[in-house]
């Protein structure tokens, strides 16, 4: 037994704390306590909901990925290879729409975030567990709408739904826009849930300064979700009404303005790329400290730069419209504002690299993905600055250069971070270890395949190959073929990952509670965790990256707190003394 002294608003308060060492052979876990399909479908447990999201996101990723492989196969030859031009249009539209709205947006926050956020806070669940389950079903309903569209005429407008094409197209625009509209509410409700949880459900001792950087990132993401997603919702509703009633708001022939649609769309969709990437930043911060065994460099710089990105992200949407007929003044201002985003992002990258300095780096699979991330995301980021420069963008706009940039940030950034996160938290989520050797092969295939796919696209883009084209001139053949070959390697890499992760579930080694020796609170639960995450109320006295402090001091909980959660906001526990 020990006491920890806490000072709420200056007055010292002593909490009775005890050391709780996580059991290595938990008898009851969230996976065994309630069993059967029905218990999953009706669960309000954030961990199961997180896994259901992870399953759905994986399903959509395989679907979107298969479409990408078909697209790349079609582009093997300059003329028709095996599908018709109309089918090609449908495939790239669906690839984009599925990957953006069904995979990237919910991937990290809704899947991993749901699982990890309450555990990092030492809470039993998110603030509104029923709302959490509701948002999952809203996601499912949105998906059903999209499948209805697939069954009827598909969609060929591109994922951006630009008017007037989306108002004239004969494909099922309404079903998809309604699907994405519904999906938006899932995102909004998750964001609301996370903000309330981070504010109100922190375990005793977790002050804002001890909040894991993953949670700062999810917090910034949630703010963007709350402020941007409703604008997409109203935009898509207006678009639907435009098709149903011929409202005229986006119709130039009635005095409306199609450019207004683009403004509305990008007011959401630019911040949306930060909804996708910022949670990835959070994962990188967690993994890089764990495998460097060292305190993060520049905690506050990384924490606040997430909020800065969320803020600046709302001011730059016009850079998607440099060639759309915006005023010259507006384009110039948007161009300069776009450069600003590079500052907080650069701060993050430099702080991560500085964290490595003099660390004892352990090259486990999650860490390998962190290095892949640093490499690929930096390329994606720098090419983004080039695209933000007005003069360069006029040349590069709507070419493969943009496609390559987008994939370097979204796939090289978000998806690689997601893979880092999945490999990092897999033992916690499933209680099983995957095969480290196969995982490293998988990471190598992804890295090689990815660069082979997208580096040639920078080159042909800079030479003028337009995006979304079905045919191309002969001089681009070699680039397209290299790219297609790379995409096959990428595909094999993902299949390998799916295979060894699946195998680990069946016959993987049992995971210890803290296989990486992390100081994060989530690793002080059993693997897999208890239904209520911890069997005590955790008390936190050190930051999540204090690797210079002994492990025992990270295993404290309120004495006699078997599942009766303590709650002490902003308590600053200053020291522990043996009793």
């Amino acid at each position: 037994m020990a006491t920890a002294e806490a000072s709420p608003s200056g007055n010292m308060k002593t909490l009775q704390v005890k050391r709780y060492k996580p059991s290595e052979n938990p008898k009851k876990t969230y996976l065994t306590e309630e069993k059967g399909l029905w218990s999953w479908l009706t669960t309000v447990d954030h961990k199961k909901i997180g896994l259901m999201y992870l399953g759905s996101v994986t399903f959509f990723f395989l679907l979107g990925g298969a479409l990408a492989l078909l697209l790349r196969t079609e582009l093997l030859t300059p003329a028709k290879t095996f599908i018709e031009a109309d089918t090609y249009n449908q495939f790239f539209t669906l690839h984009g729409a599925i990957m953006v709205f069904f995979v990237l947006v919910p991937s990290i926050p809704a899947a991993l975030g749901n699982f990890i956020l309450p555990m990092q806070l030492g809470a039993k669940d998110v603030a509104f567990p029923k709302l959490n389950l509701t948002s999952f079903y809203i996601y499912v309903i949105g998906a059903v709408f999209t499948f209805i569209a697939l069954a009827n005429n598909g969609l060929d407008t591109g994922w951006t739904f630009y008017t007037p094409y989306s108002t004239d197209s004969t494909s099922s625009v309404i079903w998809v826009t309604l699907g994405v509209f519904i999906l938006g509410f899932s995102s909004i409700l998750t964001g609301t849930n996370f903000i309330a949880t981070i504010h109100k459900m922190r375990a005793p001792g977790i002050t804002w300064g001890k909040l894991p950087l993953n949670l700062w990132a999810l917090y910034a993401t949630s703010i963007i979700q709350i402020l941007a997603t409703p604008v997409l919702a109203i935009t898509l509703l207006l678009l639907t009404m435009e098709r149903v009633l011929g409202m005229g708001i986006f119709d130039a022939s009635m005095g409306g303005d199609p450019i207004l649609f683009q403004h509305f769309f990008w007011f959401y969709s630019h911040p949306a790329v930060y909804i996708m990437i910022v949670p990835g930043f959070g994962i990188i911060s967690e993994v890089i400290t764990t495998f460097s065994k060292k305190h993060i460099f520049g905690y506050w710089a990384i924490a606040l730069s997430s909020l800065a990105i969320a803020f600046i992200g709302f001011l730059v949407w016009g850079h998607h419209m440099f060639t759309s007929g915006q005023s010259g003044v507006a384009t110039t201002i948007f161009s300069f504002l776009t450069f600003l985003v590079g500052i907080p992002t650069g701060i993050k990258i430099l702080n991560w690299v500085a964290t490595l300095y003099k660390g004892s780096i352990e090259m486990k699979t999650p860490m390998i993905y962190v290095f892949i991330f640093l490499f690929l995301f930096s390329i994606g980021g720098f090419t983004g600055i080039m695209l933000g420069s007005l003069a360069a963008d006029i040349h590069l706009h709507d070419t493969y250069y943009v496609v390559a940039h987008f994939h370097y940030v979204m796939m090289g950034g978000t998806l690689i971070a997601l893979l880092a996160g999945i490999h990092y938290w897999w033992p916690k989520m499933t209680g099983k270890m995957y095969n480290e050797f196969q995982a490293k092969i998988g990471a190598a295939l992804i890295f090689i395949g990815f660069n082979m796919t997208f580096l040639p696209q920078f080159i042909m883009g800079s030479q003028g190959m337009p995006r979304r084209y079905y045919n191309y001139i002969d001089q681009f053949t070699i680039f397209h073929q290299t790219s297609t070959l790379g995409s096959y390697i990428l595909g094999v890499g993902f299949l390998l990952i799916a295979w060894y992760l699946f195998r680990s579930l069946m016959s993987g080694e049992k995971a210890p509670s803290n296989p990486w020796g992390s100081r994060g609170l989530e690793w002080q639960a059993t693997s897999p965790p208890d239904l209520h995450n911890f069997d005590h109320t955790p008390v936190v006295i050190h930051g999540p990256y204090d690797y210079h402090k002994p492990m025992e001091e990270f295993q404290l909980g309120l004495a006699n707190s078997h599942n009766g959660h303590g709650h002490a906001e902003d308590i600053d526990v200053e020291k522990v003394s043996a009793h």
Binding site: I195, A196, L227, V231, I234, M247, I249, M254, H532
Partner: protein, 216 residues
């Protein structure tokens, strides 16, 4: 004002420490949701600003077609309902279940009055041929962009009316729970959250009324 109960009671869900934490969390969540609602309407207000700046004369002419008298009556009705919903919350906090039920019923009644008046306004316009967008067939206002004004009008008031209907549903649900005696000074979270939502619905109308009806 928070619920002052520190003991575990039936209404405190398992993942909260006490009623205070549950109440504060719900309230924060509700405010965040209301911010999202404002952004949702924000898109429509933006469209309004753009087209009013482009076609100022259209907005002054078209506003004459709207019935200012009934719009004003509806404004008073909604402000009144905001008062009664606030009184309902007060009653719940003071353990006055009867007052809670009466105030909820008055609020529901006023909300229905609002919808009925809105319904008459809509049917009168449909009768004249004032439909949104391409279905516009009214002879009295021949401005080339008139359909756009009424598209904005129907979208803004229509989505607002949808919020009123949702509000009526929520208050009926609160009323049923109040009849079962679920609310009192130790637990009135759903009453207050519904009240917050209702104030927002009222507030949006307070912006819609002058922007659409009172243009000169």
């Amino acid at each position: 004002m928070a619920n002052h109960s520190t003991t575990q009671t039936a209404h405190v869900q398992h993942h909260f420490v006490d009623g205070d934490q549950q109440f504060d969390t719900a309230k924060l969540g509700m405010w965040v949701f209301l911010v999202n609602e404002i952004l949702f309407f924000g898109g429509l207000f933006m469209a309004y600003i753009v087209y009013r700046a482009w076609y100022p004369e259209l907005f002054t002419e078209a506003a004459l077609e709207l019935n200012t008298f009934w719009g004003a009556v509806n404004t008073i009705v909604l402000i009144g309902s905001s008062l009664t919903v606030a009184m309902a919350i007060r009653s719940a906090q003071k353990n006055q279940t009867k007052g809670l039920k009466i105030n909820l019923l008055i609020t529901i009644g006023l909300a229905i009055v609002f919808m009925v008046i809105k319904g008459f306004e809509y049917s009168h316009k449909f009768h004249l041929g004032i439909f949104p967008g391409q279905f516009y067939s009214y002879e009295g206002l021949q401005h080339a962009q008139a359909p756009i004004f009424f598209s904005i009008y129907y979208m803004m008031t229509g989505i607002h009316a949808l919020h009123v209907i949702i509000g009526i549903g929520l208050m009926m649900w609160i009323y049923v729970r109040a009849r079962r005696g679920e609310f009192g000074s130790d637990y009135y979270t759903p009453v207050e959250m519904t009240g917050l939502y209702w104030h927002l619905v009222d507030l949006i109308w307070i912006f819609l009324f002058p922007l659409l009806y009172l243009i000169e």
